[in-house]
Amino acid sequence: MSSIIRIEFPPAQQAPARGGEGGLIDLSPQRHDLSPQRHPAPGRSRLNGWLLRAAAPAAILLAWQLASSFGFVAVEVLPSPADIVAAFAELIRLGDLQAALPVSLGRAVAGLAIGGTTGLALGLFAGLWRIGEGLFDAPLQMLRTIPFIALVPLFITWFGIDELAKLMVIIAATIFPMYLNTYAGVRGVDPKLIEAASIFGLSHRQAAWHVILPTALPSILVGLRYASGAALLALVVAEQINARSGIGYILNNANMNQRSDIIIAGILVYAALGIAIDLLMRLLEHLALPWRPKLALA
Protein backbone atom coordinates (compact mmCIF):
# COMPACT_ATOMS: atom_id res chain seq x y z
CA MET A 1 0.00 0.00 0.00
CA SER A 2 2.77 2.41 -0.90
CA SER A 3 1.66 5.92 -1.78
CA ILE A 4 4.78 6.72 -3.75
CA ILE A 5 4.20 7.01 -7.47
CA ARG A 6 7.10 6.15 -9.68
CA ILE A 7 7.03 7.66 -13.11
CA GLU A 8 9.31 5.88 -15.48
CA PHE A 9 10.32 7.35 -18.79
CA PRO A 10 11.25 5.23 -21.77
CA PRO A 11 14.90 5.26 -22.82
CA ALA A 12 15.49 8.05 -25.31
CA GLN A 13 16.94 5.96 -28.12
CA GLN A 14 14.11 3.55 -28.20
CA ALA A 15 11.79 4.49 -31.04
CA PRO A 16 8.14 4.40 -30.00
CA ALA A 17 6.46 1.39 -31.52
CA ARG A 18 3.20 2.03 -33.25
CA GLY A 19 0.23 0.19 -31.85
CA GLY A 20 -2.23 -1.75 -33.93
CA GLU A 21 -5.78 -0.81 -34.87
CA GLY A 22 -6.59 2.11 -32.56
CA GLY A 23 -3.55 4.10 -33.69
CA LEU A 24 -2.42 4.18 -30.10
CA ILE A 25 1.23 4.78 -29.45
CA ASP A 26 2.88 2.45 -27.03
CA LEU A 27 5.41 4.65 -25.25
CA SER A 28 7.44 1.98 -23.57
CA PRO A 29 7.26 -1.54 -22.31
CA GLN A 30 7.61 -0.16 -18.75
CA ARG A 31 5.00 2.58 -18.99
CA HIS A 32 3.27 3.32 -15.76
CA ASP A 33 -0.45 3.43 -15.27
CA LEU A 34 -1.45 6.87 -13.95
CA SER A 35 -5.15 6.53 -14.65
CA PRO A 36 -7.46 7.09 -11.70
CA GLN A 37 -7.32 4.25 -9.26
CA ARG A 38 -9.93 3.06 -6.87
CA HIS A 39 -9.22 4.36 -3.41
CA PRO A 40 -10.58 2.90 -0.21
CA ALA A 41 -13.50 4.81 1.26
CA PRO A 42 -12.20 8.17 2.61
CA GLY A 43 -13.56 7.64 6.13
CA ARG A 44 -11.79 4.34 6.43
CA SER A 45 -8.45 5.63 5.14
CA ARG A 46 -8.61 8.53 7.62
CA LEU A 47 -9.21 6.06 10.43
CA ASN A 48 -6.25 4.03 9.22
CA GLY A 49 -4.11 7.16 9.19
CA TRP A 50 -5.07 7.95 12.77
CA LEU A 51 -4.35 4.42 13.91
CA LEU A 52 -0.99 4.52 12.17
CA ARG A 53 -0.03 7.77 13.88
CA ALA A 54 -1.24 6.61 17.28
CA ALA A 55 0.62 3.29 17.06
CA ALA A 56 4.12 4.45 18.00
CA PRO A 57 3.13 6.63 21.01
CA ALA A 58 0.82 3.88 22.26
CA ALA A 59 3.61 1.31 22.00
CA ILE A 60 6.00 3.58 23.91
CA LEU A 61 3.42 4.19 26.66
CA LEU A 62 2.76 0.49 26.95
CA ALA A 63 6.48 -0.37 27.14
CA TRP A 64 6.97 2.37 29.72
CA GLN A 65 4.08 1.12 31.88
CA LEU A 66 5.28 -2.49 31.64
CA ALA A 67 8.86 -1.53 32.46
CA SER A 68 7.63 0.24 35.61
CA SER A 69 5.15 -2.49 36.57
CA PHE A 70 7.77 -5.23 36.35
CA GLY A 71 10.24 -3.11 38.29
CA PHE A 72 12.83 -2.61 35.51
CA VAL A 73 13.14 1.10 36.39
CA ALA A 74 13.03 2.62 39.83
CA VAL A 75 9.83 4.57 40.56
CA GLU A 76 11.88 7.52 41.93
CA VAL A 77 13.70 7.81 38.59
CA LEU A 78 10.87 7.22 36.13
CA PRO A 79 7.38 6.83 37.55
CA SER A 80 4.91 4.90 35.44
CA PRO A 81 2.28 6.60 33.26
CA ALA A 82 -0.32 5.56 35.81
CA ASP A 83 1.66 7.33 38.56
CA ILE A 84 1.77 10.49 36.48
CA VAL A 85 -1.98 10.36 35.92
CA ALA A 86 -2.33 9.98 39.68
CA ALA A 87 -0.01 12.98 40.19
CA PHE A 88 -2.27 15.02 37.91
CA ALA A 89 -5.28 13.93 39.93
CA GLU A 90 -3.49 14.98 43.11
CA LEU A 91 -2.56 18.39 41.66
CA ILE A 92 -6.15 18.96 40.62
CA ARG A 93 -7.62 17.67 43.86
CA LEU A 94 -5.44 19.97 45.94
CA GLY A 95 -6.21 22.85 43.57
CA ASP A 96 -2.52 23.44 42.82
CA LEU A 97 -2.90 23.15 39.05
CA GLN A 98 -5.96 25.40 38.95
CA ALA A 99 -4.05 28.00 40.95
CA ALA A 100 -0.85 27.70 38.92
CA LEU A 101 -2.21 27.72 35.37
CA PRO A 102 -3.74 31.22 35.36
CA VAL A 103 -0.60 32.64 36.98
CA SER A 104 1.77 31.07 34.43
CA LEU A 105 -0.50 31.84 31.48
CA GLY A 106 -0.89 35.39 32.73
CA ARG A 107 2.88 35.87 32.77
CA ALA A 108 3.28 34.45 29.28
CA VAL A 109 0.38 36.43 27.83
CA ALA A 110 1.42 39.71 29.49
CA GLY A 111 5.01 39.31 28.32
CA LEU A 112 3.90 38.34 24.83
CA ALA A 113 1.49 41.26 24.66
CA ILE A 114 4.12 43.81 25.66
CA GLY A 115 7.04 42.28 23.77
CA GLY A 116 4.98 41.41 20.70
CA THR A 117 3.42 44.87 20.48
CA THR A 118 6.82 46.50 20.88
CA GLY A 119 8.33 44.25 18.21
CA LEU A 120 5.39 44.90 15.89
CA ALA A 121 5.62 48.67 16.35
CA LEU A 122 9.38 48.72 15.82
CA GLY A 123 9.08 46.43 12.79
CA LEU A 124 6.39 48.62 11.20
CA PHE A 125 8.34 51.77 11.93
CA ALA A 126 11.56 50.37 10.47
CA GLY A 127 9.72 48.82 7.53
CA LEU A 128 7.63 51.81 6.53
CA TRP A 129 9.94 54.72 7.26
CA ARG A 130 13.54 55.06 6.26
CA ILE A 131 14.28 57.01 9.43
CA GLY A 132 12.97 54.10 11.49
CA GLU A 133 15.18 51.67 9.63
CA GLY A 134 18.18 53.90 10.21
CA LEU A 135 17.43 54.31 13.88
CA PHE A 136 16.47 50.80 14.91
CA ASP A 137 17.52 48.17 12.46
CA ALA A 138 21.26 47.96 13.11
CA PRO A 139 20.98 48.02 16.95
CA LEU A 140 18.15 45.49 16.97
CA GLN A 141 19.98 43.18 14.58
CA MET A 142 22.92 43.28 16.99
CA LEU A 143 20.81 42.74 20.11
CA ARG A 144 18.94 39.81 18.62
CA THR A 145 22.13 37.75 18.49
CA ILE A 146 22.16 37.66 22.32
CA PRO A 147 20.37 34.51 23.57
CA PHE A 148 17.73 35.84 25.94
CA ILE A 149 18.63 33.16 28.50
CA ALA A 150 22.02 34.86 28.89
CA LEU A 151 20.17 37.95 30.07
CA VAL A 152 18.61 36.24 33.09
CA PRO A 153 21.44 36.99 35.58
CA LEU A 154 21.57 40.58 34.39
CA PHE A 155 17.81 40.98 34.69
CA ILE A 156 17.91 39.57 38.22
CA THR A 157 20.43 42.25 39.26
CA TRP A 158 18.41 44.94 37.49
CA PHE A 159 14.85 43.91 38.27
CA GLY A 160 15.15 41.69 41.36
CA ILE A 161 13.68 38.23 41.72
CA ASP A 162 10.00 39.09 41.66
CA GLU A 163 7.45 39.33 38.89
CA LEU A 164 9.18 42.17 37.05
CA ALA A 165 12.28 40.11 36.24
CA LYS A 166 10.12 37.24 34.96
CA LEU A 167 8.07 39.58 32.79
CA MET A 168 11.18 41.25 31.40
CA VAL A 169 12.70 37.90 30.35
CA ILE A 170 9.53 37.03 28.42
CA ILE A 171 9.41 40.50 26.85
CA ALA A 172 13.06 40.23 25.78
CA ALA A 173 12.37 36.86 24.22
CA THR A 174 9.33 37.97 22.21
CA ILE A 175 10.41 41.36 20.82
CA PHE A 176 12.86 40.03 18.26
CA PRO A 177 10.87 37.35 16.43
CA MET A 178 8.05 39.85 16.09
CA TYR A 179 10.33 42.67 14.96
CA LEU A 180 12.25 40.60 12.41
CA ASN A 181 9.21 39.07 10.74
CA THR A 182 7.24 42.30 10.68
CA TYR A 183 10.14 44.21 9.18
CA ALA A 184 10.83 41.48 6.60
CA GLY A 185 7.13 41.25 5.76
CA VAL A 186 6.74 44.97 5.18
CA ARG A 187 9.94 45.16 3.15
CA GLY A 188 8.94 42.09 1.17
CA VAL A 189 5.83 43.72 -0.31
CA ASP A 190 6.26 43.95 -4.09
CA PRO A 191 7.22 47.57 -4.92
CA LYS A 192 5.11 47.20 -8.07
CA LEU A 193 2.00 46.92 -5.89
CA ILE A 194 2.92 50.10 -4.05
CA GLU A 195 3.57 51.81 -7.38
CA ALA A 196 0.13 50.74 -8.61
CA ALA A 197 -1.42 52.11 -5.41
CA SER A 198 0.19 55.49 -6.00
CA ILE A 199 -1.09 55.52 -9.61
CA PHE A 200 -4.61 54.97 -8.34
CA GLY A 201 -4.36 57.95 -6.05
CA LEU A 202 -3.64 56.34 -2.68
CA SER A 203 -1.74 58.47 -0.21
CA HIS A 204 1.23 56.97 1.64
CA ARG A 205 -0.98 56.35 4.63
CA GLN A 206 -3.67 54.67 2.54
CA ALA A 207 -1.09 52.57 0.71
CA ALA A 208 0.32 51.43 4.04
CA TRP A 209 -3.11 50.52 5.35
CA HIS A 210 -4.73 49.03 2.23
CA VAL A 211 -1.76 47.50 0.43
CA ILE A 212 1.33 47.03 2.60
CA LEU A 213 -0.17 45.81 5.88
CA PRO A 214 -2.58 43.25 4.41
CA THR A 215 0.15 41.90 2.15
CA ALA A 216 2.65 41.71 5.02
CA LEU A 217 0.16 40.06 7.39
CA PRO A 218 1.23 36.45 6.72
CA SER A 219 4.77 37.33 7.73
CA ILE A 220 3.55 39.26 10.78
CA LEU A 221 1.55 36.22 11.88
CA VAL A 222 4.61 34.00 11.46
CA GLY A 223 6.36 36.46 13.78
CA LEU A 224 3.51 36.13 16.27
CA ARG A 225 3.74 32.34 16.13
CA TYR A 226 7.50 32.41 16.77
CA ALA A 227 7.03 34.98 19.52
CA SER A 228 4.40 32.77 21.21
CA GLY A 229 6.79 29.83 21.18
CA ALA A 230 9.54 32.07 22.56
CA ALA A 231 7.15 33.32 25.26
CA LEU A 232 6.54 29.77 26.46
CA LEU A 233 10.25 28.96 26.48
CA ALA A 234 10.99 32.18 28.35
CA LEU A 235 8.18 31.39 30.80
CA VAL A 236 9.86 28.09 31.71
CA VAL A 237 13.19 29.84 32.24
CA ALA A 238 11.67 32.80 34.09
CA GLU A 239 9.73 30.54 36.45
CA GLN A 240 13.01 29.05 37.64
CA ILE A 241 13.70 32.41 39.27
CA ASN A 242 12.36 32.26 42.82
CA ALA A 243 8.91 31.07 41.81
CA ARG A 244 6.29 31.47 44.50
CA SER A 245 3.38 30.75 42.21
CA GLY A 246 2.72 29.22 38.84
CA ILE A 247 3.77 25.94 37.25
CA GLY A 248 7.41 26.73 38.04
CA TYR A 249 6.47 26.77 41.74
CA ILE A 250 4.90 23.31 41.45
CA LEU A 251 8.04 22.04 39.71
CA ASN A 252 10.30 23.64 42.30
CA ASN A 253 8.37 22.15 45.22
CA ALA A 254 8.28 18.74 43.60
CA ASN A 255 12.00 18.97 43.03
CA MET A 256 12.62 19.62 46.73
CA ASN A 257 10.31 16.76 47.71
CA GLN A 258 11.87 14.35 45.18
CA ARG A 259 8.52 13.91 43.44
CA SER A 260 9.51 13.01 39.89
CA ASP A 261 5.88 12.11 39.06
CA ILE A 262 4.81 15.70 39.73
CA ILE A 263 7.81 17.08 37.87
CA ILE A 264 6.86 15.09 34.79
CA ALA A 265 3.24 16.17 35.18
CA GLY A 266 4.42 19.80 35.27
CA ILE A 267 6.56 19.32 32.16
CA LEU A 268 3.51 17.84 30.41
CA VAL A 269 1.52 20.92 31.35
CA TYR A 270 4.15 23.08 29.63
CA ALA A 271 3.94 20.78 26.60
CA ALA A 272 0.15 21.05 26.55
CA LEU A 273 0.45 24.83 26.67
CA GLY A 274 2.78 24.66 23.67
CA ILE A 275 0.31 22.58 21.70
CA ALA A 276 -2.58 24.85 22.69
CA ILE A 277 -0.66 27.94 21.57
CA ASP A 278 0.22 26.32 18.26
CA LEU A 279 -3.41 25.36 17.60
CA LEU A 280 -4.56 28.84 18.51
CA MET A 281 -2.05 30.43 16.14
CA ARG A 282 -3.07 28.13 13.30
CA LEU A 283 -6.69 29.03 13.87
CA LEU A 284 -5.77 32.70 13.88
CA GLU A 285 -3.88 32.36 10.59
CA HIS A 286 -6.78 30.45 9.10
CA LEU A 287 -9.20 33.22 10.08
CA ALA A 288 -6.96 36.17 9.25
CA LEU A 289 -5.68 34.93 5.88
CA PRO A 290 -8.70 33.55 4.03
CA TRP A 291 -7.18 34.65 0.71
CA ARG A 292 -4.20 32.37 0.86
CA PRO A 293 -4.47 29.30 -1.34
CA LYS A 294 -4.60 26.26 0.88
CA LEU A 295 -1.54 24.19 0.15
CA ALA A 296 -1.36 20.90 1.92
CA LEU A 297 1.44 18.47 1.29
CA ALA A 298 -0.22 15.33 2.52
Binding site: K192, L193, I199, F200, G201, V211, L289, W291, P293
Partner: protein, 235 residues
Protein backbone atom coordinates in the same frame (compact mmCIF):
# COMPACT_ATOMS: atom_id res chain seq x y z
CA UNK B 1 -2.89 74.66 -18.70
CA UNK B 2 -3.82 71.83 -20.98
CA UNK B 3 -5.23 73.12 -24.23
CA UNK B 4 -8.57 71.63 -25.21
CA UNK B 5 -7.43 69.98 -28.39
CA UNK B 6 -4.70 67.94 -26.72
CA UNK B 7 -4.88 65.26 -24.09
CA UNK B 8 -1.10 64.95 -23.94
CA UNK B 9 1.56 67.52 -24.77
CA UNK B 10 5.25 66.77 -24.53
CA UNK B 11 7.88 69.26 -25.69
CA UNK B 12 11.65 68.99 -25.49
CA UNK B 13 11.41 66.24 -22.89
CA UNK B 14 14.61 64.64 -21.71
CA UNK B 15 15.22 61.87 -19.25
CA UNK B 16 18.74 60.81 -18.36
CA UNK B 17 19.76 57.63 -16.56
CA UNK B 18 23.38 57.35 -15.39
CA UNK B 19 24.60 59.78 -18.04
CA UNK B 20 22.66 58.14 -20.86
CA UNK B 21 19.79 60.13 -22.33
CA UNK B 22 16.92 57.70 -22.82
CA UNK B 23 14.68 60.48 -24.07
CA UNK B 24 16.18 63.63 -25.57
CA UNK B 25 14.23 66.53 -27.03
CA UNK B 26 11.18 64.30 -27.20
CA UNK B 27 7.94 65.79 -28.50
CA UNK B 28 4.50 64.21 -28.73
CA UNK B 29 0.93 65.43 -28.76
CA UNK B 30 -2.13 63.24 -28.43
CA UNK B 31 -5.69 64.37 -29.05
CA UNK B 32 -8.50 63.51 -26.65
CA UNK B 33 -9.96 60.07 -27.42
CA UNK B 34 -7.07 59.23 -29.69
CA UNK B 35 -5.75 55.65 -29.50
CA UNK B 36 -1.99 55.67 -29.97
CA UNK B 37 0.12 52.53 -30.09
CA UNK B 38 3.83 52.75 -29.46
CA UNK B 39 6.16 50.15 -30.92
CA UNK B 40 9.88 49.87 -30.44
CA UNK B 41 12.59 47.42 -29.57
CA UNK B 42 13.66 47.02 -25.95
CA UNK B 43 15.61 49.97 -24.56
CA UNK B 44 14.19 52.54 -26.94
CA UNK B 45 12.46 54.54 -24.23
CA UNK B 46 8.92 53.13 -24.38
CA UNK B 47 8.77 52.30 -20.70
CA UNK B 48 10.43 55.58 -19.74
CA UNK B 49 7.87 57.47 -21.80
CA UNK B 50 5.00 55.61 -20.16
CA UNK B 51 6.36 56.26 -16.68
CA UNK B 52 6.60 59.98 -17.47
CA UNK B 53 3.02 60.02 -18.76
CA UNK B 54 1.74 58.15 -15.70
CA UNK B 55 3.57 60.43 -13.25
CA UNK B 56 5.58 57.59 -11.71
CA UNK B 57 8.73 59.27 -12.98
CA UNK B 58 9.66 62.89 -13.61
CA UNK B 59 11.45 64.30 -16.67
CA UNK B 60 14.84 65.96 -16.32
CA UNK B 61 13.83 68.73 -18.66
CA UNK B 62 11.08 69.93 -21.00
CA UNK B 63 7.33 70.15 -20.72
CA UNK B 64 5.07 67.24 -19.78
CA UNK B 65 1.35 67.98 -19.75
CA UNK B 66 -1.11 65.20 -19.10
CA UNK B 67 -4.73 65.02 -17.88
CA UNK B 68 -5.28 64.89 -14.16
CA UNK B 69 -7.21 61.64 -14.36
CA UNK B 70 -4.92 58.89 -15.59
CA UNK B 71 -4.95 55.14 -15.21
CA UNK B 72 -2.50 52.42 -16.00
CA UNK B 73 -2.89 48.76 -16.84
CA UNK B 74 0.48 47.10 -16.34
CA UNK B 75 1.90 43.98 -17.88
CA UNK B 76 1.18 42.16 -14.61
CA UNK B 77 -2.23 42.63 -12.96
CA UNK B 78 -0.68 44.02 -9.75
CA UNK B 79 -3.64 43.10 -7.58
CA UNK B 80 -3.38 43.12 -3.79
CA UNK B 81 -3.70 39.41 -2.93
CA UNK B 82 -5.27 40.10 0.47
CA UNK B 83 -8.14 42.13 -0.98
CA UNK B 84 -11.17 40.74 -2.73
CA UNK B 85 -11.58 41.49 -6.42
CA UNK B 86 -14.05 44.33 -5.89
CA UNK B 87 -11.84 45.89 -3.19
CA UNK B 88 -8.96 45.86 -5.64
CA UNK B 89 -11.07 47.65 -8.23
CA UNK B 90 -11.86 50.52 -5.84
CA UNK B 91 -8.61 50.23 -3.91
CA UNK B 92 -8.52 52.45 -0.86
CA UNK B 93 -12.26 53.15 -0.86
CA UNK B 94 -14.97 51.47 1.17
CA UNK B 95 -18.70 51.39 1.56
CA UNK B 96 -21.73 50.50 -0.49
CA UNK B 97 -21.16 53.20 -3.12
CA UNK B 98 -17.62 52.04 -3.80
CA UNK B 99 -18.79 48.47 -4.02
CA UNK B 100 -21.54 49.38 -6.46
CA UNK B 101 -19.03 51.14 -8.70
CA UNK B 102 -16.71 48.16 -8.56
CA UNK B 103 -19.55 45.81 -9.45
CA UNK B 104 -20.53 47.97 -12.41
CA UNK B 105 -16.96 48.06 -13.70
CA UNK B 106 -16.51 44.31 -13.20
CA UNK B 107 -19.75 43.65 -15.05
CA UNK B 108 -18.41 45.63 -17.99
CA UNK B 109 -15.31 43.45 -18.20
CA UNK B 110 -17.45 40.31 -17.84
CA UNK B 111 -16.44 39.42 -14.30
CA UNK B 112 -19.69 40.04 -12.44
CA UNK B 113 -19.49 36.50 -11.06
CA UNK B 114 -16.07 37.12 -9.49
CA UNK B 115 -16.84 40.25 -7.46
CA UNK B 116 -16.04 38.52 -4.17
CA UNK B 117 -13.27 36.25 -5.39
CA UNK B 118 -9.68 36.42 -4.14
CA UNK B 119 -7.14 37.48 -6.80
CA UNK B 120 -5.11 34.27 -6.48
CA UNK B 121 -8.08 32.21 -7.61
CA UNK B 122 -8.29 34.04 -10.96
CA UNK B 123 -6.71 33.03 -14.26
CA UNK B 124 -4.21 35.38 -15.92
CA UNK B 125 -6.80 36.77 -18.30
CA UNK B 126 -9.35 37.30 -15.52
CA UNK B 127 -6.80 39.07 -13.33
CA UNK B 128 -5.90 41.35 -16.21
CA UNK B 129 -9.58 42.15 -16.74
CA UNK B 130 -9.79 43.11 -13.05
CA UNK B 131 -6.83 45.44 -13.65
CA UNK B 132 -8.75 46.91 -16.60
CA UNK B 133 -11.83 47.41 -14.44
CA UNK B 134 -9.67 49.11 -11.81
CA UNK B 135 -8.34 51.47 -14.48
CA UNK B 136 -11.85 52.22 -15.81
CA UNK B 137 -13.30 53.04 -12.41
CA UNK B 138 -11.01 56.08 -12.34
CA UNK B 139 -12.88 57.44 -15.41
CA UNK B 140 -9.53 58.35 -16.94
CA UNK B 141 -8.98 60.95 -19.63
CA UNK B 142 -5.74 59.16 -20.39
CA UNK B 143 -5.46 55.37 -20.23
CA UNK B 144 -1.95 53.96 -20.31
CA UNK B 145 -1.55 50.33 -21.32
CA UNK B 146 1.91 48.92 -20.66
CA UNK B 147 2.04 45.69 -22.68
CA UNK B 148 -1.10 44.53 -20.89
CA UNK B 149 -1.67 41.52 -23.13
CA UNK B 150 1.90 40.27 -23.36
CA UNK B 151 1.56 37.57 -20.71
CA UNK B 152 -1.78 36.22 -21.93
CA UNK B 153 -2.40 33.20 -24.11
CA UNK B 154 -3.33 33.83 -27.74
CA UNK B 155 -7.07 33.19 -27.37
CA UNK B 156 -7.40 35.32 -24.25
CA UNK B 157 -5.44 38.06 -26.00
CA UNK B 158 -7.95 38.15 -28.88
CA UNK B 159 -10.83 38.53 -26.40
CA UNK B 160 -8.95 41.25 -24.52
CA UNK B 161 -8.37 43.16 -27.77
CA UNK B 162 -12.11 43.15 -28.41
CA UNK B 163 -12.87 44.20 -24.86
CA UNK B 164 -10.39 47.09 -24.88
CA UNK B 165 -11.71 48.23 -28.27
CA UNK B 166 -15.30 48.23 -27.00
CA UNK B 167 -14.48 50.05 -23.78
CA UNK B 168 -12.50 52.67 -25.64
CA UNK B 169 -15.46 53.22 -28.01
CA UNK B 170 -17.77 53.66 -25.04
CA UNK B 171 -15.67 55.92 -22.78
CA UNK B 172 -13.40 57.61 -25.30
CA UNK B 173 -10.31 58.23 -23.18
CA UNK B 174 -7.05 58.98 -24.94
CA UNK B 175 -5.12 55.70 -24.93
CA UNK B 176 -1.40 55.02 -25.12
CA UNK B 177 -0.69 51.35 -25.75
CA UNK B 178 2.89 50.20 -25.48
CA UNK B 179 3.34 46.86 -27.21
CA UNK B 180 5.76 44.61 -29.05
CA UNK B 181 3.01 43.18 -31.18
CA UNK B 182 2.68 44.95 -34.55
CA UNK B 183 -0.66 43.30 -35.34
CA UNK B 184 -2.09 44.36 -32.00
CA UNK B 185 -1.05 47.96 -32.67
CA UNK B 186 -2.71 47.98 -36.11
CA UNK B 187 -5.85 46.23 -34.85
CA UNK B 188 -6.55 48.69 -32.06
CA UNK B 189 -4.92 52.06 -32.67
CA UNK B 190 -5.73 55.20 -34.71
CA UNK B 191 -2.09 56.01 -34.89
CA UNK B 192 1.10 54.01 -34.52
CA UNK B 193 4.43 55.43 -33.40
CA UNK B 194 7.74 53.66 -33.71
CA UNK B 195 10.37 54.66 -31.18
CA UNK B 196 14.04 54.26 -31.73
CA UNK B 197 16.91 55.79 -29.85
CA UNK B 198 14.59 57.90 -27.70
CA UNK B 199 12.89 59.55 -30.69
CA UNK B 200 9.83 58.94 -32.79
CA UNK B 201 11.17 57.47 -36.00
CA UNK B 202 7.79 56.82 -37.56
CA UNK B 203 4.34 58.29 -36.90
CA UNK B 204 1.59 56.83 -39.08
CA UNK B 205 -2.18 57.04 -38.90
CA UNK B 206 -4.16 53.84 -39.21
CA UNK B 207 -6.99 55.16 -41.29
CA UNK B 208 -8.74 52.08 -42.53
CA UNK B 209 -12.04 51.28 -40.82
CA UNK B 210 -12.80 48.95 -37.93
CA UNK B 211 -13.17 46.02 -37.69
CA UNK B 212 -9.75 45.46 -39.18
CA UNK B 213 -8.90 42.11 -40.65
CA UNK B 214 -5.37 40.81 -40.43
CA UNK B 215 -5.53 39.37 -43.92
CA UNK B 216 -6.64 42.70 -45.45
CA UNK B 217 -4.43 44.48 -47.97
CA UNK B 218 -4.13 47.73 -45.98
CA UNK B 219 -3.30 45.73 -42.89
CA UNK B 220 -0.47 43.77 -44.41
CA UNK B 221 1.00 46.81 -46.16
CA UNK B 222 1.14 48.69 -42.89
CA UNK B 223 2.48 45.64 -41.07
CA UNK B 224 5.34 45.43 -43.61
CA UNK B 225 6.11 49.09 -43.21
CA UNK B 226 6.18 48.93 -39.42
CA UNK B 227 8.25 45.76 -39.31
CA UNK B 228 10.86 47.19 -41.64
CA UNK B 229 10.95 50.35 -39.52
CA UNK B 230 11.56 48.12 -36.51
CA UNK B 231 14.48 46.55 -38.32
CA UNK B 232 12.86 43.19 -38.95
CA UNK B 233 13.63 41.81 -42.39
CA UNK B 234 10.39 41.10 -44.25
CA UNK B 235 10.32 38.81 -47.26
Amino acid sequence: MLSHDHAVELHGVSRVFAGRAVLDGFALTIRPAEFVAILGASGTGKTTLLRLLSGLDRADGGTVRVPRRRSVVFQEPRLVPAKRVWQNVVLGRRGAAARARAEAALTEVGLAAHVNAWPKTLSGGEAQRVALARALVQEPDLLLLDEPFAALDALTRIRMHELVGQLWQRYRPAVVLVTHDVDEAILLADRVLVLSGGRISLDVPVDFPQPRIRSGRDFSDLRMRLLSELGVAVH
